[in-house]
Symmetry: C2
Subunit: 413 residues, 2 copies
């Protein structure tokens, strides 16, 4: 089949999945979860093929781990689909409405986008996650999961389509375009009229390519050069655990801490304490010259301030004031998450107002920027753009709206 | 000054306008309104220059009328700014919020985008409209108003900047890039990191160019091939005035009717009635062969169904069923506004659900798709895309959100 036929099939499937009842969509999610559980062996076998090829090609071990699906991970994917069943259906929700002076009733209601595109890399779990979110939000999905996971994605999409068909929904509601390789990804970015919104998930490079090349609307999910500012009035007993948690609890994710800014008035007392705790967590510190006078550390370069390590590395800088902290953040932040640790109301409020990021925090770990933690139940990604969605995106963010207008013969004068 | 300097100045101005109090922003709007009233003569004189040049270049009369500003129109612009003063400030509005189980309080609040770009053609009123909306919503604005209105826009932006400065707001909050010509428009579309959202207003060609070439996020404001379906159960006494109002009240705007679909069971009785009323309003009918058997009309070509006339022309087609009407709409609609005239609940609900347009109506004139009619007070345009905003856009649609997270030492487990 040509890729245009696949696009047309997605568009043709979208009204049916868009109008499906919540019960029908939930039945499909349950059916897909069952298919996954009943076919663990074939999923894992396909994944072994991808893994063998990737190992043969000398792919890095971090990537291999993302690529890998074992029995337990497949069970996790099925469980995530069942969790989606419990979530409220966003379609049909009334966002706002009123009766105009002339008696016309207007209502803004949530409707599916139509067709979601997703471009990602070497993460077969995203195939099931996005398919599930698309189904629950009434959207058709076109998935480009990358050549590394092609065998696994093929089996997964086949099982998803079986589950859809069993529940009376069009199986073309979820399709993979992996077979078309890079040209498929290019075609997806050009597919105006077929794809309503395109979501890239993966490396900064992948996201930049999609954002700059796509002719269909994109939601940018971004990398996080995340900052914490330890203010002069910070409570050390909570500041140390917050810094360690933000950096070390799961360093490979976008909401983990990359740069710690410390007010100079507390640098001499705070840095040794936090450095000890960070060392115990295995963190390597890259400090500014002032930091290096207080604790043992590597010397940070200009590049360090602009680096998303995604590892147990942390940049540390001593600043003379809240203003200097805000300036540093304005210069290097990727507008994902920043947190201030303080007991000063005025400084907390200034930080909340002036930091231009998707999530701005006071006295909390940056790891809380997360759809699950926010109570969204499912997360499509974390948007670092300002249009449509900002911060963690759940089912609601996968919908558009339309205005329903009910009159009784009114004309405009 | 180079265009990059202008972009940098807009970005530098955006925090100050973004944090300005409602009172300060309203004072600026009042000051600009006063400047316009006090300098009507110089605005009109500059406009005369643009008009003379346009006439000399043989510009069409419709365009000349859009370009023209006389005393009365300048007064209208000042009045529109004063109307903005009365509207609620969207910045700081809490969209949703909750306290998590761990005691963390999360709030999603409205914040300005930062810098709005606008590309439009030969409409100096848009300069003042967009500047006012940008100021009230806390955004800086970069305006590309086209060479035809260059002299007028220069004077208008100068007055706007004087009003901003008098109110203690940075005058670079509103800037024109007209002096850079087409290259300026190109630069605006490429200005990632400087422009947060770009809004094209004007011809379908202009909008398509911006949508496909821009590397910054765009909100598409679209043309309207607007349909009304007169169902078998329609009440003729309201259907005739609704059709006439939708077509003829202001044919040059995007929410005016372009194609009338009539159920075959009432075609013989309805068409003569509506044709008579349309004729009295000066409307020319382009009918399908079945229509032409019932009333005198021109014969519609395939092209007519896909044409936004924006004039006193109307395509008319007889259809055999609601399904045929829905199919025709799916094929030719630009997803702006469609209306069904019916007394049948099931058909009304199907139409509301299945028509994929920004505004879908029952028994009302399509002319009601309008920010003013919806009670938004100000209108940036009508979005025909699904991302971020759909339908009439007011101040709220000119904002993004951010999450404020207030903890007391929480870490993630």
């Amino acid at each position: 089949m040509s890729i245009t036929k696949l696009f047309e099939a997605a568009k043709a499937a979208s009204p049916a999945i868009g109008r499906a009842s919540t019960g029908q969509k939930n039945a499909a999610l349950e059916a897909i979860a069952r298919k996954l559980m009943d076919n663990k062996t074939s999923v894992v076998a396909a994944n072994q093929k991808d893994l063998a090829k990737a190992e043969h090609d000398g792919i890095a071990s971090g990537l291999l781990d993302r690529l890998k699906l074992d029995d337990k991970r497949v069970e996790g994917l099925a469980a995530a689909l069942r969790d989606l069943v419990e979530l409220a259906d966003p379609v049909g929700e009334v966002v706002r409405g009123r009766t105009l002076a002339n008696g016309i009733k207007i209502q803004q209601v949530r409707v599916p986008f139509g067709v979601l595109g997703c471009i990602y890399e070497a993460r077969p779990n995203v195939t099931v996650d996005i398919a599930g979110i698309a189904i629950k939000s009434g959207n058709a999905a076109l998935l480009r999961g990358g050549s590394l996971a092609e065998e696994t994605n093929k089996v997964l999409v086949d099982l998803i389509q079986q589950g859809l068909a069993e529940s009376g929904l069009p199986k073309q509601s979820v399709q993979t375009i992996d077979e078309f390789g890079r040209e498929g990804a290019q075609a997806l970015m050009q597919a105006r009229g077929f794809v309503d919104v395109l979501i890239p998930r993966g490396s900064a490079k992948l996201i930049q390519t999609v954002v700059t090349e796509s002719k269909v609307p994109v939601i940018e999910t971004g990398d996080g050069i995340v900052h914490i500012f330890v203010d002069a009035s910070a409570d050390f007993s909570s500041a140390v655990p917050i810094v360690v948690n933000s950096k070390a609890q799961r360093p490979s994710v976008c909401n983990s801490l990359e740069t710690l800014l410390v007010h100079e008035s507390v640098a001499a007392s705070f840095l040794p304490k936090v450095a000890k705790a960070l060392e115990e967590a295995g963190v390597t510190i890259h400090g500014c010259p002032q930091t290096a006078q207080i604790i043992a550390c590597e010397i940070a370069t200009e590049e360090d301030w602009a680096t998303e390590y995604l590892s147990l590395d942390l940049s540390v800088k001593v600043v003379s004031s809240l203003d200097e902290a805000l300036d540093h953040i304005a210069k290097y932040s990727t507008h994902h998450t920043e947190s201030i640790l303080t007991n000063d109301i005025a400084n907390a409020e200034r930080f909340l107002q002036e930091v231009d990021s998707a999530a701005v925090m006071v006295n909390a770990s940056t790891r809380f920027t997360d759809g699950g933690e926010f109570g969204f139940g499912a997360e499509v990604g974390i948007s670092t753009q300002k249009l449509h969605a900002r911060g963690p995106m759940g089912l609601q963010e996968m919908t558009s709206t339309k205005w329903l207008i009910r009159g009784s013969g009114q004309v405009r004068s």
